[in-house]
């Protein structure tokens, strides 16, 4: 029980610092990757909160597919910006 709480506190700290990084980062790519990291830490927190279904969904969708959607759109925009 205590171990779970400590792990939860570490994860909370990690996801909050990733979120701050996502807001403060100068490059948009770093911000997108940090947002994916927030999702990944949140999915481990879902696992601690006894929600394995939600954890799987968040890991696959929130941190996987969302990040790639951003990267695809950024690639499109950068290619057009250089033309």
């Amino acid at each position: 029980m205590i171990g779970l709480t400590i792990l939860g506190a570490v994860l909370a700290l990690a996801s909050l610092s990733a979120a701050v990084l996502a807001l403060l980062a100068r490059s948009t790519l770093v911000a997108v990757l940090a947002a994916g990291l927030v999702s990944l830490f949140a999915s481990v927190m879902f696992l601690l909160l006894a929600a394995p279904d939600v954890a799987m969904t968040e890991a696959a969708i929130g941190s996987g597919l969302t990040t790639f959607l951003f990267i695809f759109v950024m690639g499109r925009i950068r290619r057009e910006g250089t033309q």
């Binding site: 909050l16 996502a22 807001l23 997108v32 759109v73």
Partner: protein
Amino acid sequence: MTLVQISLATGFALIFLGLYGALSNRNILRMIVSFTIASTGVNLVLVAVGYLPGREAPILDTIPVASAAERITDPVPQALVLTAIVIGLGVTALMLAYAYRLFRARGSLDISDFTELKW
């Protein structure tokens, strides 16, 4: 602090950070990133509200059915959050597609370049 309080506090803090980022950024892509952070926070708050300390996941493979009501956490918020995550990806994809269209129209991602709806 217990695990529930830590998760609730994290979820609320993620909502703050996300909303503040969405309000203070000028770049449309950065606003969308902030929205995804805020939606992660909302999901975390919902799941934390459904968690009962010391209980197990609502999957009855080792838990006998008779004692299920005393040993599992609330499954309803989990089902709702599952739905919310999937819809969240759809919303993000839609926002990104519109952001790309705006970039095509004006050649810029800065929100202050789009003044048609201002009055």
